[in-house]
């Protein structure tokens, strides 16, 4: 009985956090960058941040994302104490971090959690592009690695939602090293015969693409998400030609063999649930 009280409390907490992410003071209307039409912000916020007119997927906050895939009340946040530091003492970085923390209510660009999807336990990590473009800092790498190791130790499936502009410039080489760290952790995790689902959301680029995001047993992507190693602008400058329509979008990656399925947000929870069910008897001991 007491368990259900805690569960209700957790459900309420996550719902509140998700609500905070969707709250924007003032403007009641939001314009879709794809179709250009205006919609009521409240409707968009209630509908998984998808444009009701054209289906464009707006950026989604980490807590809202978690509340959209996990069973209500199953959410338990992990590794909350790992937060951004300033390892290279980079000028102006601390101020930037605290501004991002105030604006988003997050301590870093990733939230890690334990939860269930249709009753099946899993570890979920979500990058949030609202926090310094979801860039990979040492703390992001550390938190992801802790989550991967925790999933390995607990023999649980792992789901990571990527959304990242790439490296955290202000942490320089240490940001780069997180690519090796997370990939190595996934190699260990894989050796245990456990399932890792990677979900690529808009945008997934740079060091995140070139590490954990590309290493899923199953790789899903949200419609229209930009996914690539180099950014389109850099490529265009390098080759001096305009890029083809749809280049580096989720559908393009699916066509080129790098994504198993493009899954709209409205079907994400159900798809993840099915995949967890299909892998239920996996896992060697």
């Amino acid at each position: 009985m007491s368990e259900s009280i805690f569960a209700r409390r957790r459900a309420r907490l996550l719902a509140m956090k998700a609500m905070r992410e969707n709250y924007v003071p003032g403007d009641k209307l939001v314009q879709c960058p794809k179709c250009g039409q205006e919609s009521e912000r409240r409707l968009v916020a209630q509908g998984l941040s998808v444009c009701p007119k054209c289906g464009y997927h707006f950026p989604m906050g980490a807590y809202y994302r978690l509340s959209s895939v996990l069973d209500p009340g199953s959410f338990r946040e992990l590794f909350t104490k790992v937060s951004a530091a300033d390892p290279l003492a980079f000028p102006g970085y601390r101020e930037k971090l605290s501004a991002a923390q105030r604006r988003t209510g997050l301590s870093e660009a990733v939230v890690t959690a334990l939860g269930t999807i249709d009753g099946r336990k899993c570890v979920v990590g979500v990058l949030d592009s609202r926090f310094l473009m979801g860039s990979m800092s040492a703390a992001v790498g550390e938190k992801l690695t802790l989550a991967i190791e925790y999933a390995g130790k607990s023999r649980l499936p792992l789901i990571l939602f990527a959304a990242s502009g790439g490296a955290r410039m202000q942490e320089g080489i240490l940001s780069l090293m997180q690519m090796a760290k997370t990939s190595a952790a996934l190699a260990r995790y894989a050796e245990k015969g456990l399932l890792y689902i990677s979900v690529l959301t808009d945008p997934t680029t740079g060091g995140v693409t070139a590490s954990f995001a590309s290493l899923g047993d199953i790789i899903l992507a949200e419609p229209g998400a930009l996914i690539g190693f180099a950014g389109p602008r850099v490529i265009q400058q390098t080759i001096g030609e305009t890029l083809p329509e749809g280049f580096q979008r989720a559908e393009y990656l699916e066509e080129h063999g790098f994504v198993d399925a493009v899954v709209p947000r409205g079907q994400m929870r159900e798809t993840l649930s099915r995949l967890l069910r299909l892998h239920e008897k996996g896992g060697r001991s």
């Binding site: 104490k81 390892p87 334990l114 410039m169 090293m177 260990r188 080759i239």
Partner: protein, 273 residues
């Protein structure tokens, strides 16, 4: 030895076109080099040179990014910027090294993985990620040497090693100082300022625990006296290889994991969820 050079001066030395490249090091340090080509999937990438050779009589797998010394050479090897085919060839050779139980030695000098249309279509990100994943669990010794520029994931894809060596004037960073300045300040002209902040030189990286050894270079840079640079590198590689060959394969992989696991980790790591 020139200890007082600024980071920007070292960048200039690291990029000097006369600097010894992977072919020079292979002919100076190894014998009987047999070049292996192709990723066995779809292509061959000349920006990565790889094969089998003898290092003081012992078979090793050698892999390196290749910059040319003339425009013609550079056009052939894409200025040392690999495509996914190159990284996949490197992985193929590393797996072969695992099969034949021979150490892997990599040489890194690249301004980064090639940002091209086909590179993206063929999965540049996936190719790099796969290398990081697989290198972390190889059970043969891996030595990496940064010999010039080691930029971005394109460099790291050959550098998940038991020991990372770096020549005194080489630089190793998340990207070029020009790219760094243009991303952070929208002004590539501020690259010298970026150099000073990026912590990209060998002494700075050693202090951060990112590299293990600084390999001395002749005064003014390796291009002024390549023979001296080769001798110093040979000495360091030999010592490190001898040390690693005493360790069992599974222990090597475990130590390599721990080495990268610690990077950028705050002291307060032990936290219960």
């Amino acid at each position: 030895m020139s200890k007082t050079l600024t980071a920007a001066e070292r960048v200039a030395i690291a990029r000097n076109p006369g600097r010894p490249n992977v072919s020079d090091y292979i002919s100076a340090l190894f014998t009987d080099f047999f070049q292996c080509r192709g990723d066995r999937l779809c292509g061959e990438d000349a920006a990565i040179l790889g094969g089998v050779a003898l290092f003081h009589g012992r078979p090793v797998t050698v892999i390196g990014t290749r910059k040319g010394k003339s425009l013609e050479e550079n056009l052939q090897c894409n200025f040392g910027m690999p495509n996914p085919e190159g990284y996949r060839k490197a992985l193929r050779l590393m797996r072969q090294a695992e099969k034949f139980r021979r150490p892997v030695i990599t040489f890194i000098d690249t301004s980064g993985a090639y940002p091209g249309l086909e590179a993206e279509a063929h999965g540049q990100g996936e190719a790099i990620a796969r290398n990081l994943f697989e290198m972390s669990r190889l059970t043969v010794p891996i030595l990496a040497v940064i010999t010039g520029e080691g930029n971005s994931g394109g460099a790291l894809a050959l550098a998940v090693a038991d020991r990372v060596l770096m020549q005194e004037n080489a630089v190793y960073a998340i990207l070029s100082p020009e790219g760094f300045a243009s991303i952070l300040w929208k002004d590539a002209a501020r690259h010298e300022e970026a150099c000073a902040l990026m912590k990209m030189t060998a002494p700075e990286l050693k202090a951060l625990g990112v590299i293990d050894d600084i390999v001395p270079e002749p005064e003014g840079g390796a291009h002024l006296a390549p023979a001296i640079a080769c001798r110093e590198l040979d000495r360091c590689l030999r010592r490190r290889l001898a040390e690693l060959e005493r360790v069992r394969g599974t222990a090597l992989a475990a130590e390599r994991y721990e080495k990268f696991r610690k990077m950028g980790t705050p002291e307060s790591r032990k936290e219960n969820p």
